[in-house]
Symmetry: C2
Subunit: 144 residues, 2 copies
C-alpha cells in the first residue's frame, strides 16, 4: 500500500484496538484491566496477540504460579499517543460528553494540545496554511 | 460515553471511513473518486450517507440532468486533518512503503509535522514530558 495512513489503519484501524491502546496509556497492563472497555474475552485476547506480533505491545510475565502476563506498550506503541491524542482532541471539540483522557504537561500540569508544526519556519501552523497535495485521478484509483 | 476517543471512534472508527476522509483531503468529491479506495459501492454510499448525517461531509448538487451530488468536507470534517495526519505520521515512522499523502506548509513548501504543544509554556513538548492521568480501576471499568 503506497499510503502510510492505510498502513497504520492496517495495524490499529479497528475500534477495539484503539480503545485497548487508549487504556494502556491510562495505565492498563493486565488482561482484566483491558477487559473493562467492554470487549468480549475472545476478541480481547485475539487483539492483544496481534498487537504483540506487530510490536505495539510487549508481553511480560509477572507471575509464575499461576503463569500470568501483562502487556506493556513498546516505543512503537507509545508513539500512538499522537493518534489517540488527535482522536481525543477532535472528540472534545465535536462531540458532547465528559473527558476522562486529558494528557497533561508534566512540568506545569496544563492540558496539552496537538499542533501542526513547520520545522523550517519554526512555528505552529494554522489549518488554513496547510496544503494536502491533490491526487491525480490515476493516483486516486491506486490509492488504497 | 465519558471518553472523547470513544466518541470520535464512533464517528470515524472504521477503516473505510478514515480512507474516505483521507481521499477527501486529497481532492476527492464525487462518488467515483471515493470509489477508488477499493470499497464496494453499497458500503461507500452507506458510509457517505452516515458521514453526511454526522456533519462530516456536506452533500452538494453539481448537476441537474442527471441529478448528481458531490461530498465536501465541512469544518467538522476538515478538523479530522490532525487525525489523518497522526495516522500518516505514525505510518511513515513505523511501517515500510511509499508516502502519497504528505501535507505541506503552503508558505514554504516544507513537510509538516504533528507536535504536542503546551499553551502555558508556549513550546512544543516531548513525549517524555507528557502525563496521561492513570485511571483508577472503577474508572477503567466505566471507560468504554
Amino acid at each position: 500500500m503506497p499510503c502510510p495512513v492505510a498502513r497504520t489503519l492496517d495495524v490499529v484501524g479497528e475500534w477495539w484496538t484503539l480503545m485497548i491502546v487508549r487504556d494502556a496509556f491510562r495505565g492498563a497492563r493486565r488482561f482484566e484491566e483491558f477487559r473493562s472497555v467492554g470487549i468480549a474475552d475472545n476478541i480481547l485476547s485475539n487483539r492483544l496477540r496481534k498487537l504483540v506480533e506487530q510490536g505495539v505491545f510487549e508481553r511480560r510475565k509477572y507471575s509464575d504460579h499461576p503463569e500470568r502476563f501483562e502487556y506493556v506498550l513498546t516505543e512503537k506503541g507509545r508513539d500512538l499517543l499522537s493518534v489517540v491524542a488527535a482522536l481525543a482532541s477532535w472528540g472534545k471539540k465535536w462531540t458532547v460528553g465528559r473527558d476522562i483522557t486529558g494528557m497533561r504537561h508534566e512540568v506545569c500540569g496544563e492540558p496539552l494540545r496537538l499542533q501542526i508544526y513547520c520545522d523550517k519556519c519554526e512555528r505552529t501552523v494554522d489549518a488554513s496554511e496547510i496544503r494536502v497535495p491533490r491526487a491525480i485521478r490515476s493516483e486516486l484509483s491506486a490509492a488504497s
